[in-house]
Amino acid sequence: METNQPQSNRRKVALALSIIPGFGQFYNKQYIKGSFFFVLVIAFFVVFSDLLNIGYWGLFTLGTIPMEDHSIFLMVQGIIAVLVTAVGILIYVINLIDAYKNGRRVDLGLERSSVRKQYHNLIDSGFPYLMLTPGFLLLIFVVIFPILFVILLSFTNYNMNNSPPANLVDWVGIKNYIDIFQLDLWRNTFLSVFSWTIVWTFLATTLQVALGIFLAVLVNQKELKFKRIIRTVFILPWAVPAFVSILVFAGMFNNTFGAINVDILAFVGIDPVPWMTDPFWTRFALIMIQMWLGFPFIFVMVTGVLQAIPDDLYEAAVIDGASMWQKFRQITFPIVMFATAPIMITQYTFNFNNFNVIFLFNGGGPAVSGQNAGGSDILISWIYKLTLEQSQYGKAAAITMLLSIMVISVAIWQFRKTRAFQEEDLM
């Protein structure tokens, strides 16, 4: 009982003193640790003062003299300044927590750890950090840094006519977002691209999933022979790298010399179809191709599930006089869906961002009048074009933000339903 009731207030004093880094540790008589924190924080601000100074100035103004100040460089430095500040604050918070904890040890009358013991503690508790640091540094630079950069870019007027070093880039607030919904060209393009993205995602994914399940059930029939060879053939479209297949299809669907028009359709007596020049037929072909590319994965997954369903379930159903369709509807389908639902959802998010098939098949084309995206462009391929072909960086960043919000909401919704969020050691 006694030990649980602190007799003094050293923890609070130590915490207060630690506002100047290291002093709380001095108060706790941990002189080495105290001077370590003191020197570290002072050195931190001395070493980085210039960088922080220029960084924050650049971040707020994005430069003042054209040709001399490079707005984008300044923005990069600004983000680095923010990250460096975050590290500084982290060290400072660790300093506060450490002072408070050791103060409490004294309050509770526990023995203060010796220098030797502290050293061992440091090695022990430092090991996971040592192993995590390389990975985290990489993530900060190639993943988090670009994300911050996109967020900032979406609030600037950075585009081809307005690019450094000749011109300065300026903060324009949410003008890019407003423009996308107000300027006719942008609104029309956004709405048509967005609606096609949704239609594409649902049609292509649902059809590929349906085909995969259908074929898996078909091949799983007891009476069927040559199962092994049939399954191998059905996996082939997955085995060949998608970019190769898509480019091959681009050749097959070519209006003038492709095999579809020249060989197959001519053989059955149908006139050539304008696959590459009519938006409707491009979209139609794309959905067919995605079915071809996507069904084997579903096929394999569902086959795995089907083989695990016990036979007596079906035998019982037969005794009850169930038809084929009833067996599928009441037994097979629910079990398959339950086992593969998370994977099915990832198929939808995958197709939502399926740049490869859209871009490699017809470059997002054909061109459509009255908008700055092609007839089969989805959001991600439109962003690509805005960035690399039209240099509309600010607008592209704003659209990226809209797209990311959609993807992340779906992902969060999905992960809430899976185990990952409920893992007890995460919460």
Partner: protein
């Protein structure tokens, strides 16, 4: 009798559907293979089973003076292997820390990974492009490798962490009592036991850069630096009809080895994908 008849009809329809699907799957494969054997350069006048079949397009691809194809193959393999090595090393270290240690910031680290794995790494396409230009890393393989590794880390660390946690902690503890240090426990106790999941991750880390088009297309500028995906695209994007048969030969040379490797390893791939899907 009627039962038998029913089964007969059902199986006939089944075989018909399977035959139709098999044709749909195999037709493009035969078509591209046939095209690659045609002597002409363009597709007009070519046929699926050319009477005067020739291997000259394959020879052209293997001639370094006429084509960059071998160089692209080498670039792709190099990028894939380095990405794989770095990814597996980093994932093993991070998954070990997350599964075996309880430390300040662990929860936030895991949450960060969970959120980052939701964002596809080409979402920051513009940033990657602009940053690569301003840092002078555009058109380098190192930039591409780092982006691939960064994109692979979050999801695969979660995947590996899940597997690491199935290894009983008593093993570590008894090794510790025997006097093994932190790194030693990792190296000689844990690592041999988690080989299966590391193999799956290695496979992912190899396939992802191999099949990626968009990032390679954004970063790589000069033809001698291209990967296979970008190079093959360029072959037909620049002058579609004119080089199609050569492209066909290039496509065949990628499809054959990769499908063989894929078909022999698919069991591992599927086991990884299923656990990845349910674990998040």
């Amino acid at each position: 009798m009627s039962m038998k008849k029913q089964t007969l009809i059902r199986m006939t329809i089944t075989y018909l559907i399977i035959f139709f699907m098999a044709v749909v799957i195999i037709y493009p494969v035969l078509w591209i293979f046939g095209s690659s054997l045609n002597p002409g350069n363009s597709l007009s006048g070519s046929s699926m089973f050319p009477a005067d079949a020739t291997l000259k397009h394959y020879r052209e691809l293997f001639d370094l003076e006429q084509s960059y194809y071998l160089l692209w193959y080498w670039n792709t393999l190099k990028i894939c292997l380095i990405t794989m090595l770095i990814t597996v090393t980093m994932v093993a270290l991070m998954a070990y820390s997350f599964s075996r240690y309880r430390f300040l910031g662990r929860k936030y680290g895991l949450m960060t990974f969970l959120i980052l794995q939701m964002i596809p790494n080409f979402a920051a396409l513009i940033a990657i492009y602009v940053l690569a230009v301003v840092t002078g890393l555009i058109d380098t393989h190192i930039a591409l490798i780092l982006i691939y590794v960064g994109g692979l880390l979050p999801m695969n660390t979660w995947l590996a962490k899940g597997y690491f946690e199935t290894i009983p902690k008593e093993l570590d503890e008894s090794a510790k009592i025997d006097g093994a240090g932190h790194f030693r426990i990792f190296w000689s106790v844990i690592l041999p036991l988690v080989k299966p999941i590391l193999a799956v991750i290695a496979l992912f880390a190899f396939i992802t850069p191999f099949t990626d088009f968009i990032l390679a297309r954004v970063i790589l500028r000069s033809e001698s630096n291209f990967t296979l995906a970008v190079g093959l695209y360029n072959m037909i994007a620049n002058n579609f009809g004119a080089e199609f048969t050569k492209f066909a030969a290039g496509a065949v040379l990628i499809a054959i080895p990769i499908s063989i490797v894929f078909l022999s390893l698919q069991r591992y791939l599927i086991s990884g994908l299923t656990s990845g899907g349910t674990k998040g």
